[in-house]
Symmetry: C2
Subunit: 292 residues, 2 copies
């Protein structure tokens, strides 16, 4: 297992972590400047943040600073209540692929979607098996484009508390079943993003990380699970402040040969988004060294 | 599958559902009176509610009204930071067994515990594998007493969002692994409580219900998953108000031969506990017929 205690060479910042500074939206350009000033070598930006300043400008800034992208957030949301919705999702995912390629991302992260309409509070149906089939089919269609673009797809299993409204792939085992079905040759074109927040609780985690192996471990995300957790979406903790044994999980992932970035992704409307972004980034660096 | 649309013969009320009426604590005696007036034949009381009025009085009222207990809530919380804590849990669980026997419950429901101290916001450690071992060992010890008392133990897998602070058994598969290890003969002394709120998301749910079979399906709990869910603990929905396909899951459970009560267990500080208890019970009856 790599020694992270001496530097932050393998730290990546998911830009949602500093989406807000003191409660105010922080433009991606300023986020990248703040990362560059701290010698942070990698980022993982969100599409809405990129769109707000323009892809071309972000691409220039990424290249000028020599940033690597540990991933691009995000594609997915494959489910829909009708064919028009499915087609719109396909089109949007192909655009996400093109953006990821322009930014030279390591992978396009997929949050796969769940019951259509549920995110807005009005689920169109209750058939999660149907949603799972739509996700399977949608990934299959996108994979053709992904292979052509040379841009790997990383399925991110989301915590089961998001099964209704954000992602109906909720365990590593389930994600890897999809990978095995759609990419049986383990080509590297399809794999998983392991976010400790979503999978730390899983009694089969170690076994499934070993099943994934190097070819399917495309990204590693960290934050922490707080007790109590006050909000289902926006109360993630800074590494070290919660109950996840992050080094143990990182050890399992690196035991399979993963040698990429450790990406910090913290949604925290109640705490970190209320602080000054520089303080947040400095804390990420410190905790990357001490708690990851 | 049984037809529930014509009556509420197979409805049980978990008394936490009407723990409060218009925001005020409602004594168990009044809850039982309100159930009896509505022809509700079964209940599942919580220990703290029983203790508040006294076991002897509750026992008399249960017998006088001819109530059956679909379960007794709850034993468990097997994990601890030291031997004294483990012993205290053992002692408390034996008392819970005796109470369940006095009330002639169908089973003692087990919420097994998680990282010691986490429920109070200060986890003693981060080793969830250790907690799982303590749970396994604790159930093993309690099972000897349970067999002697003729009182089955029902492990309730809790939703993974409670893995840190309430229960580190989080899937049916995991619960059934414990059952297979401790009761390989499928004697009926050890099984599971299937609460749709905790397990609805699980892609392996149907397969694991079939694995459980009649001998291990000891209780069936219903409520609903709301979108959005505003609180991790106390925002459960009334059946029909959320996204869980309850009849489908009940069909799987009854397909294995389960013929017991459908127990309504709703924690809802934001909604139902703010209403008058009679309205809540009337709604449970109506939704039992239309949405379960």
């Amino acid at each position: 297992m790599r020694d992270f205690s001496q530097d932050h060479r393998w730290l990546s910042i998911n830009t949602a972590t500093v989406r807000k500074s003191k409660g105010q939206d922080l433009p991606l350009t300023e986020i990248l400047d703040a990362c560059a000033r701290r010698g942070i070598r990698a980022i993982s930006p969100w599409r809405d943040q990129v769109a707000a300043v323009g892809l071309a400008q972000v691409s220039r800034q990424v290249k000028a600073n020599g940033f690597e992208l540990s991933g691009y957030c995000r594609g997915g949301m494959f489910t829909a209540a009708d064919d028009a919705g499915l087609k719109a999702a396909d089109d949007d995912n192909r655009r996400a692929l093109e953006e990821a390629r322009e930014l030279n991302a390591a992978c396009l992260v997929l949050v796969v979607g769940a019951l259509p309409g549920a995110l807005g509070g009005r689920a169109a149906h209750k058939d999660i098996a149907l949603s799972r089939q739509q996700v399977h089919d949608g990934i299959g269609r996108l994979l053709e484009h992904s292979r052509a673009a040379g841009m790997p797809l990383a399925i991110e299993p989301l915590h089961p508390m998001y099964a209704a409204d954000r992602a109906c792939i909720n365990t590593m085992e389930q994600a890897l079943d999809v990978c095995d079905a759609l990419d049986p040759s383990r080509s590297g074109a399809l794999g998983v993003a392991v976010d400790v927040y979503h999978v730390w609780w899983d009694p089969k985690l170690r076994e499934q990380i070993e099943r994934a192996g190097r070819e399917r471990l495309l990204a590693f995300h960290v934050c922490d699970w707080l007790t109590p957790t006050r909000d289902l979406l926006n109360d993630r903790g800074m590494m070290g402040d919660g109950v996840i044994d992050i080094p143990r999980i990182r050890g399992w992932v690196e035991g399979q040969g993963f040698a990429g970035y450790s990406e910090v992704e913290i949604f925290s409307g109640l705490d970190w988004w209320q602080r000054e972004a520089g303080e947040v980034l400095d804390t990420c660096i410190a905790r990357h060294r001490s708690a990851v």
